[in-house]
Each structure stands twice: as structure tokens, then as C-alpha cells.
Amino acid sequence: MAIRTIGDSATTTMVRRRTLSETYLGQWLTTTDHKQIGIMYIVTAFFFFMVGGMEALLIRAQLARPDGHVLDPQAYNEIFTMHGTTMIFLFVMPVLVGFGNYIVPLMIGARDMAFPRLNAFGYWVLLFGGIFLQASFIVGQPPDGGWFQYAPLSETGVGCGLHAVQCTTGLNADFWALGTLMLGVSSIGGGLNFIVTILKLRAPGMSINRMPLFSWMTLVTSFLLIFALPSLTAASVLLILDRHVGTHFYQYSFGGDPLLWQHLFWSFGHPEVYILILPAFGIISEVLPVFARKPIFGYTFIAWSGVAIGFLSFTVWAHHMFAVGLPPIAQAFFATSTTLIAIPTAVKIFNWLATIFLGKISLKAPMIFALGFIGMFLIGGLNGAALAVVPFDYQVTDSYFVVSHIHYVLFGGSVFGIFAGIFYWFPKMTGKFLNERWAQVQFWLMLIGMNLAFFPMHLLGLLGMPRRIYTFPDNMGWNEMNLLSTIGAFMIGLAVMVFLFNVIASLKNGQLAGSDPWDAFTLEWDTPSPPKKYNFLTLPIVRSRRPLYDKKYPEIADWKTVTH
């Protein structure tokens, strides 16, 4: 007997009231569908992007002029701490997880993630962890010790004041430690889910060697998450114990080790950089071939260089600690391993360049963001290689040179990659195109803005401007470059406004996109836009690295000529 709900208009034989999970809100609260969860991740991440962006504008407004008074010193400390924490933990990581959630199962020909409820749990923990962190502003005690919250400066309680140990007596550091603990739970669950999904639920015929590169990079990132995050979780737990139970893990005067925090934090923190950039590498590896109308060049090298980066990322953490006085042998080791990691990264860049070389390039929005990514990330990679040289690092450590480096990597790299992904997959997620003209405006504002904002920071660092200073005197020679930097930051803010306008306008009146608007190669484009709940009516059978291309062009299908 057909059972229909009250809302249905068709003839009914039995009527029942809709359950709470069948209402619109209930559907979102109880969903275990990877696509809905992916969208929730992305929307939440963009909300926090706005929050982190406003914090960035406050920082730049304070530093636009010497002797600025936009913020007081305590508020400045809180704002820059929360800017870094929000952007890293609540924007870049979740948005990339959101893409993975939405795209990876479609891409590998699966109907959902391996553990759908764990997937939903990961999202909710992330949301509440983010709200918990931001709620610290409401109670007036946001974290104020920088995004890496160095202990013992973030300690409190016993030992406070002894041997010049400074303390954070409020709840500031507690919010940070607990917030990152929650986000760690979310990320580890998500990482496990991705690993099992990718290893066990691939479509028939999709060997690892045929898997799309975005899925490859998501797999590597997931391993990084489950191996790197426990270190941060342990560090946070020890910090909470020190602060509330009276242990002394980080206090030298009581037999603890003040460097323990740095080792624990950076053994998470440097893999974290690759957690933030590897999925963006994957996005670029998907976008470039489609808009150059060529197969990816050097698939195997791109895939395995990602694995190499993943391994090497666990061997470089102490390059963040050159200035603490490491033994020369340790400095040599970490300088060498840091330089080594440039090799697989360069392999990727050369392969991307070879992919677009002699291609029929279409400069649509995803492609220009992908090209922007390559250029900006290259600058970030090169000045990162400079920082691997110990004597140079001594000179510029904790200066604005480092701030410039991280922003070229994470903004020029990750954020440009994220926007490439958004413009590429938005038609799949919504069934509509984003407006191309507004996308071009956004791109140029963002490209010019980011170079105005972050390139002068190289020079400021070389001129000795320390990071995290509240303000600076008039006579240091830093005025003009700080002003330029602030102008650039507001240009980026304008670009983000353009993007938001574009999203809203396109959702309302956007041009309809078919199931395969880019004439793409991978399986997610072989579903309607947006895809049905079950993704695939019958699971596709894969015979090459470009299954959709094979289907559309059977006479020149890859599997006829290529033996991978």
C-alpha cells in the first residue's frame, strides 16, 4: 500500500503526518547524504571566511598608519589570533573537506561515503567547535596567544609568575585548546571516512591508477589528518591539564619542557600546511586538463609526488624552530628535508605547465583561478625555500617575511584553488553557472589585491618589521608599504563581496547548466546537476582515467589506446 504524506497531492490510500526529519529543517539536521553534508561544510566554511576576513581587515586597518588606534593592544592580540585560527581551522580545512564530501563519492562512482553518519557527526562537531571558538568573543575572553598558542606563555595557575613565566589567566587559551580539540575530532573522523570510501567504494574498474587526482590528493590528505592531528590533540590536552589540573608539562621551573609544545604543535603544524594545500593541488589537477582540452600530463608523477609530499611533510617540522637553538646536525637535517620537499612540489608545477602547453586553452573562471594559483603558489614556494636556509631564517624569523610566505601559500595557493573549485563545480552542485563577467572582476581584484597586500610584506620583513606588533612608530620606513598592504587587503574584501553577489544573483537568475557544462572527463559530470540522491542508478564501469570522455567519444576512447 502506498503511504503518502499530507503534503503530497496524489491520491492516497493512507495519510500520515510528516515526521520531523521530513520537514525542510529536519532534512538538513538529520541528513546523512554526502552532497548535503558537503554543501553544509562549504556554506559554514564561507561564513567563517567572512568572520576571518573581517578580522583581517581590522588588523590591516590598525596597521595602515603608524601609531594606529583602531584597536587596543589586547583586542589586536585577540583579533590576529582568531584570524589565523579561523582561516586555517574553520575556513580552508572545512571548505576542502566539503569539496571532498560532495565530489569524491561522485568522482569514484560511489553512492555515498563509507560511514554516512560519521560524516554527519564530523560536520556537526566542526560547526559547534567553530561556534565555541567564536563564542569566546561573547564572553570577552577570546584566545590571544597567536594561532600556535605557544606554551608556556599560554599557561596559567601553578608556576605563574615564577622565573618570569607569564600567564594567560582567563579562559582565552582554554577556548583555543578545547576548540581545536573538537575540530581535531571532526577532522580525524572525516579522514578515516575518506580513506575507507576511496579504498573500498570505487566503481568497478577504477583502479588506484585510474582514480581522479582530486581523489588521490584527498586520500593523501586524509592520511595526513589521521597521523598529524593526534599530535595537536595531545598538545591541547596537556595544556588543559597544565592549566586546570596542576601538571607542568611545559614549565621548565617544575621539570617540564618549554619546547615540548613547539615540537608537538609543529609536528602537526607543518603537515597541516600540506593538509591545506594538497586538496587544492587536486582541484588544479582536475581543472587544468578540462580547460586545456588535454589529458593531464604526468598523471603518475603528480599522484606520487603528492604521496612524497605527504611523507616528507612529517620530517620538516623543526624548520619552524631554527631560532630556538637547535643543534647544528638537527638544523642541517631539517634544512635538507625542507629543501627536498620542493622537488615533488616542482614536479607538480612542471606537469601542470606541460598539461596546458599547446592545449586549446579556455580562459573561463575556473581556469584563470587555476592559473592564478600556479603563479601565486610558485612565489609562496620559492620564498618558502628561502626560509629553509638556516642563516636566512635567522634573519627573518618572526618577521613579516614569514607572514608574506604563509599568505602566498595559503591565500595565493589554497584560496585560489578553492575558488577554482567553486567555479568549476558550482554548476554541478546547483545546476546553474556563476556569472562569468563577475568572476573575471573578482579574479582581477583578488589577484591585484593579494599582491598589493602580501608582496610588500616581504620587504617589510627584510626591513625588520616583526610580525604581530600592535603598531609601529613613524620613522621606521614602513609606512608606505603598510598602507599599500592595507589597500590590497580591502581590495580582497571587495573581491569577496563581488563573489557573494555573484553567488546570490546566480542562484536566483543564473544560466542553467546541463549535466556536463565543461565537457569534462570525470564521473561526477555523468550525473544530473544537481545529482540525484543515489548518485548513480547503476554503478559505472571504468576503463581508463577519463571514463566520461570514453563515454562521450567512444571512437577515440582512452582505453583503446592507453594501457593504464
Partner: protein, 149 residues
């Protein structure tokens, strides 16, 4: 056009299974199941030699095309080996409904996340909050475990 390379027998099993366009499959399925409420789907198959309904649906047309064009010369010569335990595989190909194959919605992930946040916040706020949070965590885990999937 380049001639296709000779593939080994194992690989050829895959290549004979022409990949059916999803839209065509859905059309066929909707025609076949007009009277039912939801489109029927195949259960997930785990390997190239257990290819589910897509192999059955479209193998004939695809192989006709290939043989007429003459481009794939090897695929017709190699007899496809009979898969072992064919009966069991046939059972797997029986169509199932969307409800049967897709995960059900659940409140427990949300409940567990809220409980976890309450418990962690309790560690720095009041011990009683932590205790309440811990009880909620345990309750959520039990509810999650006992929920009918």
C-alpha cells in the same frame, strides 16, 4: 586512428563491459519501473568482473557497435571466462529501492556532537556540566548504536 593495443584477457573483461550513459540507464529504468514509486537500482558491485546491471543492460548494443566498426579486434576473439559462483552474483543484481540502498537520516550524529561540546566545555566550566555532558555522550552513543539502519 591508432590501432588499439592488444589487451590481456583479464583487462579485456573490463573493456567488453561498455560503460552505459547514466541518462540512458535512467530512461530505461524509468520506463521499466513506471508503475513503481522510485527508480530501481542495482546493488553496488565490488569489482570489474561483478559489474551489476550496467553490463546486462548495454552489453549487446555496445558490442554490436564495436564489431561493426572493427576497431576492437581483440575483444571478440577472447572468450569471456565464466565467472565462478554465478548464482550468487545473480542474486546481487536484483533491483532494490532507493530507501533500501541509501543511508537513513539520523538525529544521533547531531545529538552526539552537542553532547560532546557540552562535556568538553564542562572541563573548563563546572564539573557538573561535564558530568551532564558525559551522560549525554553515553546516551547518544547508545542511541546511535541501537538505531535501525
Amino acid at each position: 586512428m591508432k590501432k588499439p593495443v592488444q589487451l590481456d584477457a583479464k583487462r579485456e573483461i573490463v573493456s567488453q563491459e561498455q560503460y552505459e550513459p547514466q541518462d540512458q540507464v535512467e530512461q530505461q529504468a524509468s520506463q521499466a519501473s513506471e508503475q513503481s514509486e522510485m527508480p530501481e537500482m542495482s546493488r553496488s558491485s565490488q569489482g570489474p568482473d561483478a559489474s551489476g546491471t550496467s553490463q546486462d543492460v548495454q552489453g549487446t548494443e555496445a558490442s554490436k557497435e564495436e564489431s561493426s566498426s572493427g576497431e576492437v579486434e581483440s575483444s571478440q576473439d577472447i572468450p569471456a571466462p565464466q565467472p565462478p559462483r554465478a548464482k550468487k552474483r545473480k542474486r546481487k543484481q536484483e533491483p532494490v529501492s532507493e530507501e533500501e540502498i541509501m543511508p537513513r537520516p539520523s538525529y544521533w550524529p547531531l545529538a552526539l556532537a552537542i553532547a560532546l561540546v557540552i562535556m568538553l566545555f564542562g572541563t573548563i566550566a563546572q564539573p557538573i556540566v561535564m558530568v551532564v555532558g558525559a551522560i549525554l555522550v553515553i546516551g547518544s552513543i547508545i542511541g546511535w548504536s541501537l538505531e535501525r539502519r
